[in-house]
C-alpha cells in the first residue's frame, strides 16, 4: 500500500496507522459475532417495549432512565461492532465522539433552557 513507501511518520494521527490498519484485517469479528450482537440488540429492544407496557413501571421514576440506558446501550453496541469503531483507527473514534458529545450537550442545554427538563432552572 501507498504508505509502505513512506517512513513511519511522526504525525500523531498516523501512529499505529499500520497496526490499526492491519488489525482491521485480522481481529475483524466473524459473521457469528455479528449475529450474536444482532440477537443482543433484539433482546434489548424486546425488553424496552415490554417495559413500556408495565403500567406500574411506567409510572415509576426508574422508567425514563432505564429506557435511556437501554437505548444508549444499543447505540454503543451498534457503533462499536457494526460500525467497527472498536477495531478501527482511533482517529475515527475522535471524529465521531467529539461531534456526538457536542450534539448531546446541546440537546440537554436546549431542553433545560425551554424548561422541558430541570424546569426549576430556566424560567420559561
Amino acid at each position: 500500500m501507498a504508505h509502505e513507501h513512506v517512513p513511519a511518520n511522526p504525525a500523531p494521527v498516523a501512529h499505529g496507522a499500520h497496526t490499526a490498519h492491519g488489525a482491521h484485517e485480522h481481529e475483524h469479528p466473524t459473521a457469528w459475532t455479528y449475529i450474536k450482537v444482532g440477537i443482543i440488540l433484539t433482546l434489548i429492544t424486546v425488553v424496552e417495549v415490554w417495559a413500556y407496557y408495565i403500567r406500574s413501571f411506567v409510572e415509576s421514576r426508574a422508567f425514563v432512565p432505564s429506557l435511556l440506558i437501554m437505548s444508549i446501550a444499543k447505540f454503543i453496541i451498534v457503533v462499536a461492532f457494526y460500525m467497527h469503531l472498536k477495531y478501527d483507527h482511533k482517529l475515527f473514534r475522535w471524529l465521531f465522539t467529539g461531534p456526538l458529545a457536542i450534539a448531546v450537550v446541546t440537546i440537554i442545554a436546549l431542553l433545560i433552557l425551554f424548561g422541558q427538563i430541570g424546569s426549576n432552572l430556566a424560567a420559561s
Binding site: 511522526p10 504525525a11 500523531p12 450537550v105 436546549l110 425551554f114 432552572l121 430556566a122 420559561s124
Partner: protein, 683 residues
C-alpha cells in the same frame, strides 16, 4: 529550480502551460484556480455589500434622512449583513483555504478536487440567487438573523424571506461540502513529516474552522428547513397561532451563529500568524499555545450562543452561565494577542503593507474584543443590545479583525497567486485610508449606541444627540470607499504589470514559498519531506536556526529536503528584498521581465514528471445547476402559494412541482454520471 533538472524535451506538452479560455475555468478542478475564482467572486460580493453599506451611511448622514424608503433600507441592512458574512468574508476565507492549505501541507491537491469545484459553483450560483432578489424589488428584509415570527408568511407575505432562506440553504450546501473536503485534506494529505505540530498556523486555524463549519451549519440548515416548511407546507414551527415559541428560532440560529463568528475570525487569525513572524523574521511566539488557544476558542464557541439573547428574559441562571462561558473566551483570545506582540518583540519588524494590516488586526480586534466583554455582562448588555454599541463591536471584530487579516493575506499571498508583486506605495495608501476610515466609521458608533441610538432604524429624529456621531461615521465610510477604490486599482494594475515575484519574495519560512509563483498545477515536482516547522528558514538561514531547532523535542534534525532544495536561491535570504521588490516596475519592463522569467524557468508538465492530475470536468457545475433549479422551484412554489392566497384558494402549484422535479433529475443524474467517472485517467 528542481524543474531545471527534469527531463527537457523540445515538445511543448512536456512544459507546464497555464490552461486558458472560459471552458478551462468552467471545468477546472485545480485547487489554485478554484481559489482564485473564490477570490474574485467574494471580492465582488464584498464590494456589493460595501456599496449597500455606503447607501446605509448616506441615509443616516443626517436626521430624518430621505435617500431611501423604510422598506429599501431594511432590505439594505439585511442584505449588507448577509452579503458581508456569507458572500464576503466566508468565501474570502475559502479562497485562502483552497489556494493555501494544499501548498502549506505539501500536497498536490485537495482530497476531493471535483467536490471542491462543486463547492465553488454552488457558492457562486447561491450568491447570484440571493442578489437576484433586488431585481424583483424583493430583497430579504428581516435582518441577517431573521427572527421569527417576522419571517413567517403572516408578517412577510412577499418573496423576500424565501430568497433569504433558500439562498442561505444553498450557501450552506457549499460550505459543508467544502468543509468535509478540507477536513479530509488536512487530516490525510499532509506531506511526509508534516505532523500536526509542524503545520503552519493558517492551516491549523483553518482546521479548527472546518470543524466549526461541520458542526454549526447543520443546525441553521434545520432552522431554515423549518422556516421553509412553514412557508411552503403550512407547518407550525414558528406559527404563533399554533402556540409556537419564537425562542426556538433564536436558539437554533445562535447555536449556529456564534460558532459562525469564529468561523469568520479564525482564518484571519491564521493569516496574521503567518505574516507577523515573516516580517519580524522571528518564529511565531508560543506556537503550541497558539494552536491550543485556537482549539479552545473553537470549543467554547459552542457554549456561549445565548449571549445574543440576554434581553429575552431567559432567567437568572441561564444568563449567569452564558455570561461566564462568554467571558472565558477572552482568555484564549488574549493569549493570541499577547503571543503576536511577543512575536514582534525582539524582531526586525518590516512595515510591508501585509505587515501593516497584520499589526492593524492586533490593534483593532482588541477593541472589538473588549466591547464584546462589555456585552457579556447581561445587565450591562440590557443597555447595549440592539443599539449601535453592538454595531460598533461587531464591525471592530469583523472589519478590524477579519477584513484586516484578509487584506493582509491578499497582499502577502498575491505574489504566490499571480506571480507578481502588488504595489507597496498604493498598498500603504490603502492601509492608512482603511485604518483611519475604519476607526472614523465605527468608533463613534460606540457613543451613538450608549447615547441611546437603536440599530436597524432607517431614520432618527433631530435633537436626539445622534447627529455628530452619524455624520462622522458617514465621512469614515466615504474614506473607506476611497481606500477600496485604491485597492481595486492596485490589485488589477499589479496583476497586469507588477514586478515579477520569485518563489519567495518575503523570505517566508513555510513550504508554499519553496515552489514557483504561481505554482504549476502539480504544486510539488516531488512531495517534500518535512522535518521542521520552518523548513525554508532551516534551509536558507541555518546559522539562525542552529541553536534553536524549529521543531518539537523528539524531532532529531532540523534538516529539510523538499522538491528543488535550491528553489529561490540568494533572493530568499536577502533582507532588503522585502522592502523594494524585484525590478523597478514600469509596466513594460515588468512584462519583458516576466517573459524572460517565463523563458528561463519553464516548468515541466505533470505528464513529463509522470504525476497523475485529476481530469478537468464540467460535471460539478451541472450538479450545482441542478440544485439551483430545484431551489428555484421552491421559490416559485412560494410565489404560487401567495398568489393562491390572494385569489382566495384559486390556482395551482403544478409549475413549481415540475421545476423541482427537473432540478432533482438533473441533480441525481449528473451526480451518478460524476461518481461513476474516475478522477484520473488510468495509466
Amino acid at each position: 529550480m528542481a524543474t531545471a533538472t527534469a527531463p527537457i524535451h523540445a515538445t511543448a506538452h512536456y512544459y507546464h502551460e497555464e490552461p486558458t479560455g472560459v471552458m478551462s475555468w468552467l471545468t477546472t478542478v485545480d485547487h489554485k484556480r478554484i481559489g482564485v475564482l473564490y477570490l474574485y467572486t467574494s471580492l465582488f460580493f464584498f464590494l456589493v455589500g460595501g456599496l449597500e453599506a455606503l447607501i446605509i451611511r448616506e441615509q443616516l448622514n443626517g436626521p430624518n434622512g430621505t435617500l431611501v424608503s423604510a422598506e429599501t433600507y431594511n432590505q439594505l441592512f439585511t442584505m449588507h449583513g448577509t452579503t458581508m458574512i456569507f458572500l464576503g468574508i466566508m468565501p474570502l476565507s475559502a479562497a485562502f483555504f483552497n489556494f493555501l492549505i494544499p501548498l502549506q501541507i505539501g500536497a498536490r491537491d485537495v482530497a476531493f478536487p471535483r467536490l471542491n469545484a462543486f463547492s465553488y459553483w454552488v457558492f457562486l450560483l447561491g450568491g447570484i440567487f440571493m442578489n437576484v432578489s433586488w431585481l424583483f424589488a424583493a430583497a430579504p428584509d428581516a435582518g441577517w438573523f431573521g427572527y421569527a415570527p417576522l419571517t413567517t408568511r403572516t408578517y412577510s407575505p412577499g418573496l423576500n424571506i424565501d430568497f433569504w432562506a433558500i439562498g442561505l440553504q444553498i450557501l450552506g450546501i457549499s460550505s459543508l461540502a467544502a468543509a468535509f473536503n478540507f477536513l479530509t485534506t488536512i487530516i490525510n494529505m499532509r506531506a511526509p513529516g508534516m505532523n500536526l505540530m509542524r503545520m503552519p498556523m493558517f492551516t491549523w486555524m483553518s482546521f479548527v474552522v472546518q470543524f466549526l463549519l461541520v458542526l454549526a451549519f447543520p443546525v441553521i440548515t434545520i432552522a431554515l428547513v423549518f422556516l421553509q416548511f412553514d412557508r411552503l407546507f403550512g407547518t407550525n414551527f414558528y406559527s404563533m397561532a399554533a402556540g409556537a415559541d419564537p425562542l426556538l428560532w433564536q436558539h437554533l440560529f445562535w447555536v449556529f451563529g456564534h460558532p459562525e463568528v469564529y468561523i469568520l475570525i479564525l482564518p484571519a487569525f491564521g493569516l496574521v500568524s503567518e505574516i507577523l513572524p515573516t516580517f519580524s523574521r522571528k518564529p511565531l511566539f508560543g506556537y503550541p499555545v497558539m494552536v491550543y488557544s485556537g482549539i479552545v476558542i473553537g470549543f467554547l464557541g459552542f457554549a456561549v450562543w445565548a449571549h445574543h439573547m440576554f434581553a429575552v428574559g431567559m432567567g437568572p441562571i441561564p444568563d449567569t452561565v452564558f455570561a461566564l462561558t462568554t467571558m472565558l473566551i477572552a482568555i484564549p483570545t488574549g493569549v493570541k494577542i499577547f503571543n503576536w506582540i511577543a512575536t514582534m518583540h525582539g524582531g526586525a519588524v518590516r512595515f510591508t503593507t501585509a505587515m501593516l494590516f497584520g499589526i492593524g488586526l492586533v490593534g483593532l480586534f482588541t477593541i472589538g474584543g473588549i466591547s464584546g466583554i462589555m456585552h457579556s455582562s447581561p445587565p450591562a448588555d440590557l443597555q447595549q443590545t440592539d443599539t449601535y454599541f453592538i454595531v460598533a463591536h461587531f464591525h471592530y471584530v469583523l472589519f478590524g479583525g477579519s477584513m484586516m487579516g484578509i487584506f493582509g493575506g491578499i497582499y502577502f499571498y498575491f505574489p504566490k497567486m499571480f506571480g507578481r508583486m502588488m504595489n507597496e506605495t498604493l498598498g500603504k495608501v490603502h492601509f492608512w485610508l482603511m485604518f483611519i476610515g475604519m476607526n472614523l466609521t465605527f468608533f463613534p458608533m460606540h457613543f451613538a449606541g450608549m447615547y441611546g441610538m437603536p440599530r436597524r432604524i432607517y431614520r432618527y429624529d433631530a435633537g436626539q444627540g445622534f447627529e455628530v456621531f452619524n455624520m462622522m461615521s458617514t465621512w469614515g465610510s466615504r474614506m473607506l470607499a476611497v481606500g477600496m477604490l485604491v485597492f481595486i486599482y492596485n490589485f488589477f494594475r499589479s496583476k497586469m504589470a507588477g514586478p515579477v515575484a520569485g518563489n519567495d519574495p518575503w523570505g517566508a519560512p513555510t513550504l508554499e514559498w519553496s515552489i514557483p509563483s504561481p505554482p504549476p498545477d502539480y504544486n510539488f515536482a516531488q512531495l517534500p519531506t518535512v522535518t521542521s516547522r520552518y523548513p525554508l528558514w532551516d534551509l536558507k538561514a541555518p546559522q539562525l536556526t542552529r541553536e534553536v531547532p524549529h521543531t518539537r523535542e523528539g524531532d532529531k534534525t532540523t534538516h529539510v529536503e523538499f522538491a528543488g532544495a535550491d528553489a529561490g536561491d540568494a533572493k530568499l535570504s536577502s533582507t532588503d528584498r522585502t522592502r523594494q521588490p524585484v525590478a523597478a516596475s514600469t509596466g513594460t519592463s515588468a512584462r519583458t521581465a516576466a517573459r524572460q522569467d517565463w523563458e528561463e524557468n519553464r516548468l515541466p508538465s505533470a505528464k513529463a514528471l509522470g504525476i497523475p492530475m485529476p481530469l478537468s470536468t464540467i460535471k460539478p457545475l451541472i450538479v450545482a445547476i441542478g440544485i439551483i433549479i430545484m431551489f428555484t422551484g421552491m421559490l416559485l412554489r412560494s410565489h404560487e402559494i401567495a398568489q393562491i392566497q390572494a385569489a382566495g384558494g384559486e390556482g395551482s402549484t403544478m409549475p413549481s412541482v415540475i421545476v423541482i422535479l427537473i432540478g432533482a433529475f438533473t441533480l441525481v443524474g449528473s451526480l451518478y454520471w460524476w461518481l461513476l467517472t474516475p478522477l484520473e485517467e488510468h495509466h
